[in-house]
């Protein structure tokens, strides 16, 4: 007892340091499942994050609501007009689709599509580096599981859901994260490769052979679906620059600017029935 009293501080420090070293060691090399301990901490504290964001958003929307009310009448008239023309477009497109497939098949496809998107709000950003991950306010109770593609409000790829997924919150790995990989194809020249994040605002398109022709700055990249996580055809980003890779003569060094922006990530769509969603 006297020994404990005398060396209390040193023993506490030694114990905690040892605990952390063991904790870090069991995860290296990376790629292991998230531990129950880590998931429990996320489970415990993510509702606090959710509440804090809710309060800020609530206050903000109350303020904006006043100003929005003044614009609502003009917007209402404009929207009515747009809705009229859009309904005409939808009817026209449906007619065209019916020509290609039976009505039953069309209805089935549409019903599947309607149920495959879960809208979610971003409630947090990665505490170490914002370009790695975000936290959204939908979880397993809303049908979210790991490896589901996540898009922004314009349908551009943001990333995929990863563990931990708690009851009402889940983590999303951004395409800009260093450990993220997306199989992509360029829209014009058909360059195929893997887009990998760099944990900064740009990504890299890897494994494009130096002998492969084509590709130009500004060319759009789309998902291929080969990775079995992201459905094919989702817009990911655009080529920023192309150069010979100094580290490897076999491949080209292609820098990509992802399309998503943090200021449009307040609402995201989780695709629950893509290749990764098990649907």
């Amino acid at each position: 007892m006297a020994f404990w009293e005398k060396r209390r501080s040193a023993l506490v420090l030694a114990g905690l340091t040892f605990f952390h070293i063991v904790l870090i060691s069991v995860q290296v090399p990376r790629g292991a499942e998230k531990s129950l301990f880590e998931r429990s901490i996320f489970f415990l504290f993510s509702p606090v994050q959710r509440a804090a964001t809710g309060i800020v958003r609530g206050a903000g929307s109350l303020w904006n609501g006043y100003f929005d009310l003044r614009r609502v009448r003009a917007d209402n008239l404009k929207l009515r007009r747009e809705a009229f023309f859009l309904s005409q477009d939808v009817r026209y497109l449906q007619d065209r689709l019916v020509l290609r497939s039976s009505e039953e098949e069309l209805q089935r496809n549409l019903a599947e599509f309607r149920g495959s998107v879960v809208a979610a709000r971003t409630i947090g950003v990665d505490s170490a580096n914002p370009y790695q991950s975000i936290v959204i306010d939908k979880g397993s109770l809303d049908g979210i599981a790991a490896n589901m593609a996540v898009c922004d409000r314009f349908g551009r790829l943001v990333g995929r859901t990863i563990q931990p997924v708690s009851l009402k919150e889940s983590m999303v790995q951004l395409v800009t994260d260093k450990d993220s990989s997306v199989s992509v194809i360029s829209a014009v020249d058909g360059l195929t490769g893997t887009m990998t994040g760099l944990s900064r605002p740009v990504c890299e398109l890897r494994y494009v052979l130096a002998s492969a022709a084509g590709g130009q700055p500004g060319e759009e990249l789309l998902t291929t679906g080969f990775d079995k996580i992201y459905p094919p055809g989702i817009r990911v980003g655009a080529i920023q620059s192309l150069a010979p890779d100094e580290a490897s003569p076999v491949f080209r060094r292609i820098i990509v600017t992802p399309y998503f922006r943090f200021n449009t990530l307040d609402v995201v769509a989780v695709l629950t029935k893509g290749p990764g969603g098990g649907g």
């Binding site: 420090l13 952390h20 990376r30 993510s46 804090a52 947090g124 950003v125 505490s127 994260d177």
Partner: protein, 167 residues
């Protein structure tokens, strides 16, 4: 003694909740704010000076692990660095006078710089990557963090003075 330890755990838990709250508010305002200051470090620095090294280490562990849980990186890196930060901040602050604002801010600046260096080194070793400095913005983090933590002491002193006058 057991009661004191239990109270310390509860206090550390409450302080961690405050850190999560501040971190969430900053992140929802703009993600860039999370680069400029670290809410968890502010809380660890403040409470370690107030309550000593054992509480600092305990709080550092809690805050660090929660910070890790909200990041995709290796779980435990921030836990380790913040445990050491909490312990040494509490330990040193009991041996030198850190009451004046300038001195406390400078002391906390040194401690948060040391914490950041340790975090960068461990991240580089564990994740095999260089840390994104966000165009040098990350280097401002210890300074802003120290000023914020120092301001908490100034605020606390003013509130005490005012309530003493009122009493």
């Amino acid at each position: 003694m057991r009661e004191t330890a239990f109270k310390d755990v509860l206090r550390a838990f409450a302080a961690t909740l405050i850190a999560v709250l501040v971190y969430s508010l900053a992140g929802s305002a703009t993600p860039g704010l999370l680069v400029v200051f670290n809410a968890f470090t502010v809380v660890v620095l403040y409470f370690s000076i107030r309550r000593g090294e054992v509480f600092g280490a305990l709080l550092g562990t809690m805050c660090g692990l929660v910070q890790d849980a909200f990041s995709i990186g290796v779980f435990g890196v921030a836990g380790l660095t913040k445990t050491l930060l909490g312990f040494w901040t509490g330990y040193v602050s009991r041996r030198i006078d850190v009451a004046p604002f300038g001195r406390s801010a400078l002391f906390m600046l040194v401690m948060s710089v040391l914490e950041m260096i340790l975090w960068v080194v461990i991240t580089a070793v564990v994740r095999l990557e260089s840390v994104n400095l966000h165009g040098g913005l990350l280097l401002v983090q210890p300074l802003v963090t120290a000023v914020l933590a120092g301001s908490l002491f100034v605020l606390e002193r003013r509130i005490r003075k005012r309530s003493a006058r009122g009493g």
